[in-house]
Amino acid sequence: MAALSINNVYKTYANGTDVLKGIDIAIEDGQFLILVGPSGCGKSTLLNMIAGLDDISSGDIEIGGKRVNDLSPKDRDIAMVFQSYALYPSMTVRQNISFGLEIRKVAQAEIDATVNRVAEMLQITHLLDRKPGQMSGGQRQRVAMGRALARNPSIFLFDEPLSNLDAKLRVEMRTEIKLMHQRLKSTIVYVTHDQIEAMTLGDKIAVMKDGIVQQFGSPQDIYDNPANLFVASFIGSPSMNFIPATVVQTGSDIGVKICDDKGCVVLPLPHDKAKLASFVGQEVIFGIRPEQITDARTAYREGLPVMSCHIDVIEPTGPDTLVFVSLNNTKVCCRTHPTEAKHPGHSMELVFDVSKAVLFDPKTEARIV
C-alpha cells in the first residue's frame, strides 16, 4: 500500500493560472521523497496541499490509502518542519514540543515521556527550558524536528528545513536527517531547491518545473538518465556540459563532431544505432558530465577517444581540478586529477567517456538517446 499517492493533482488560482498541472507521484511506506526544483516550480505549494494548508483544485491526495482532500491539517496524521522553524516564540522548547500533544489531549505522563525521549534523541535535553529567541539556528532546527517527531505521524513534511543554516551546519543536519530516517523508517516528503540535498537524502526524487513533474525516479537514475535538458542541467554540480554538435556518420560509426580552434574530431557514440541513424546530419545538444571528460590517468578505460584541448581557465577544488576548455564555441568543464591538470594557455590531452553521454533535441529539449 502506498504511504502517499498524489493522483493528477491540479492547483488553479482564482485568476485562472495553473501552478500545478497534473501531478502524479506515489511512494511506499518508509520512503524518502524529495520534491526539488527552482523557485516558483510549485514544490512548496504541493507540500502545502499534502499538509492541507492549501486547497486541492482537482485530483486526489491519499495518505495511507485514505483520501484526505477534505480533511483539515490536524486530521491528516502529518507533521511539518518549516524553513523558518516556526517555533512558538512565547513558549519554551518543552512547551513547543508538547503543544500538539496537549491539543490532542494526550495524558500528561505520556507527554512528559515523549518530550524526554525526543529531546534525548536530538540531544536538546539541556535546552528544554529555553525559549526560541535564546537559541542558535541549528538548535532551533533541532527543536522544530523534535516537535514533528513527538507527534509520531505517518508522514513527515519538510519545507526547505536547512536553507536558513550556514553551510557547515547544513551538511551536519543533512546527515542527521538521513540518520533519523534510517533509524525510524519514517515516510518523509522533503522540499528543497538544493540538488545536493536531493541527491544525498532521497530514495525518490521528483524534479519539478513550471508545475509539472519533469522526472520522477531514484537519485542515481535521474543523474544518469535525465529525461530532458532541464533535469540534466538541474541535477549535478558542476552542471552537465551541453555542447551543440552535429551528428555524423563515419563508416559504421555514428558520432558527434566536436571542434576547437585547432581542429575537429568525431566522438563515436555507443548508443542505439537505429535511433541515432535518423539524426545523422542534424544539429543536436550533446550532454556530457564534467567527470566524463578527464585526464588520461583518471580515465579508467583504454581505447576512449582523446582530444588535445587548449585550456582557458582552471579551478582547483582540492580533490579535483576543474579545467575549462572551449569546444564548438561552448565553455566546457572537465574534472581532472589535480596533479594532471595543466595551466591555462597550455594544451592538455582530455579523454572523453561517451558511454554515459546523452543527446537532446535542441528545439524540444527532450532526450534523444
Binding site: 494548508l53 490536524k74 516556526a86 516564540p89 491539543i103 529567541g133
Partner: protein, 332 residues
C-alpha cells in the same frame, strides 16, 4: 586620554568588555545584539565627554530649549493652581506661590459650578472613567481579533474589508455626528455613557484594527501553519500563540485609545449632556461658568485633574509606546 576614543571606535563587533586602560574612561560592555546599527559613535559620545563637539552642544542646547518651551505651560498651571486669587493678581505668571494653598484643588474637585450644578469635577471624572475603560477595552480586543483575521486568515474579500476599515481612520468626527445621533436614538442610549462607549468603540476599532493588523503582518504565517498542523483551532492559535507576543502592540493601542477617548470633546458634548457628560465637557462648562470672580486657580486645578489620567498612562507605559511602535518582526 584621547587614545581611548580610538579604542572604542575601532573595536569590531566583539561583544566583549572594552577598556582603554586610561583612568578617565570606564570599560564599556556591549553585546552586538543589543546595539542598534550605527549607534557606535553615539555610544562613544555618551561614554566619553571629550567627544562633545560644538555641533553636539548646539543640539543639546536646542533640545533643552524645546523641553523648557513645552514644560512651561505645565509649570504655570501647577503654580497657579496652588496660588490664592490675590497672589495671582499681584504676582507675575512665572513666580512661585507666596503661600502654597490646596483650596483650589478641593474646590475644583467637589464644589466648583459646571453650569447649574455645583459639585465640582468629581462626578464627571467618574463619568469619563466609566466611558473610557470599557471603550478602550472593547475597541482594543475587537481590534486584536480583527487584525488577527485580516492578517492571518485571508478570505475572499478580506483585503476589501481591511481597506474599508482603513478608510474609517480618515473619516472626520463631524461627518458621523448626525447619523450617529440617529443610531443612538434608535437604540435608546442617547445621552448616556453607554452610548458614548458605543460611539468610541465604533470609531476606535478602525485604528485598533490597523495597529494589530500591521503588527501581526510581521509575524511569519508559518507560525499559524505550524499551529494548524499541531491541531490548534482559530481561538487556540490566537490565545496561545499570538496574544503572548502581542504585548508591545497592546500597549500602543491602549495608550492611543485611552488618550483619544479621554480627551475627546466633540462626541462628549454632542452625545452626552448634563449628568452623563465626560470630564472634558465639564471642564469647558466649569471654565465658562462665571458667577462673579474668575477663579484661575480653580480652572487650572480642574484642567490638571482632567489631564491626570492620560499623564499617568504615559508615565506608566510610555517607554513601551515607542518600543511598540517600532516593534518589527518577531524573531521566532
Amino acid at each position: 586620554m584621547f587614545n581611548s576614543a580610538k579604542n572604542t571606535a575601532v573595536q569590531p563587533d566583539s561583544g566583549v568588555a572594552r577598556c582603554s586602560g586610561s583612568r578617565r574612561t570606564p570599560c564599556t560592555v556591549s553585546t552586538p545584539a543589543l546595539r542598534a546599527p550605527g549607534s557606535r559613535t553615539a555610544q562613544a559620545g555618551f561614554v566619553l565627554l571629550p567627544n562633545l563637539t560644538v555641533g553636539r552642544a548646539l543640539v543639546y542646547a536646542a533640545l533643552l530649549l524645546m523641553a523648557i518651551y513645552y514644560l512651561l505651560p505645565l509649570y504655570v498651571m501647577l503654580t497657579t493652581s496652588f496660588k490664592s486669587l490675590d497672589d495671582i493678581r499681584a504676582g507675575n505668571m512665572l513666580s512661585l506661590p507666596q503661600a502654597w494653598q490646596g483650596g483650589a484643588w478641593v474646590k475644583a474637585w467637589a464644589e466648583a459650578c459646571t453650569g447649574v450644578e455645583c459639585n465640582g469635577m468629581q462626578g464627571f471624572f467618574w463619568n469619563s472613567i466609566k466611558m473610557t475603560l470599557p471603550a478602550v477595552a472593547i475597541s482594543t480586543i475587537l481590534g486584536a481579533v480583527n487584525g488577527y483575521v485580516v492578517s492571518m486568515w485571508r478570505f475572499r474579500g478580506s483585503d476589501a474589508l481591511f481597506t474599508m476599515l482603513l478608510v474609517g481612520c480618515f473619516i472626520p468626527f463631524q461627518v458621523v455626528l448626525l447619523p450617529m445621533a440617529q443610531v443612538l436614538g434608535m437604540l435608546g442610549i442617547a445621552n448616556t455613557t453607554t452610548g458614548l462607549v458605543l460611539v468610541h468603540v465604533v470609531y476606535g476599532t478602525a485604528f485598533t484594527t490597523l495597529f494589530f493588523r500591521n503588527f501581526y503582518i510581521t509575524v511569519p504565517d508559518e507560525l499559524v501553519k505550524a499551529a494548524r498542523i499541531d491541531g490548534a483551532g482559530f481561538w487556540t492559535i490566537f490565545l496561545r500563540i499570538l496574544l503572548p507576543i502581542s504585548g508591545p502592540i497592546f500597549v500602543v493601542c491602549i495608550i492611543w485609545q485611552f488618550t483619544q477617548i479621554w480627551n475627546d470633546f466633540l462626541f462628549g458634548v454632542v452625545f452626552a449632556s448634563g449628568e452623563a457628560q465626560p470630564i472634558t465637557v465639564a471642564l469647558n462648562n466649569l471654565v465658562n461658568t462665571s458667577t462673579g470672580v474668575k477663579e484661575y486657580n480653580v480652572d487650572m486645578a480642574a484642567a490638571i485633574i482632567a489631564a491626570l489620567p492620560t499623564l499617568f498612562v504615559y508615565m506608566v507605559a510610555g517607554r513601551y509606546f515607542v518600543r511598540g511602535l517600532t516593534a518589527g518582526a518577531v524573531k521566532g
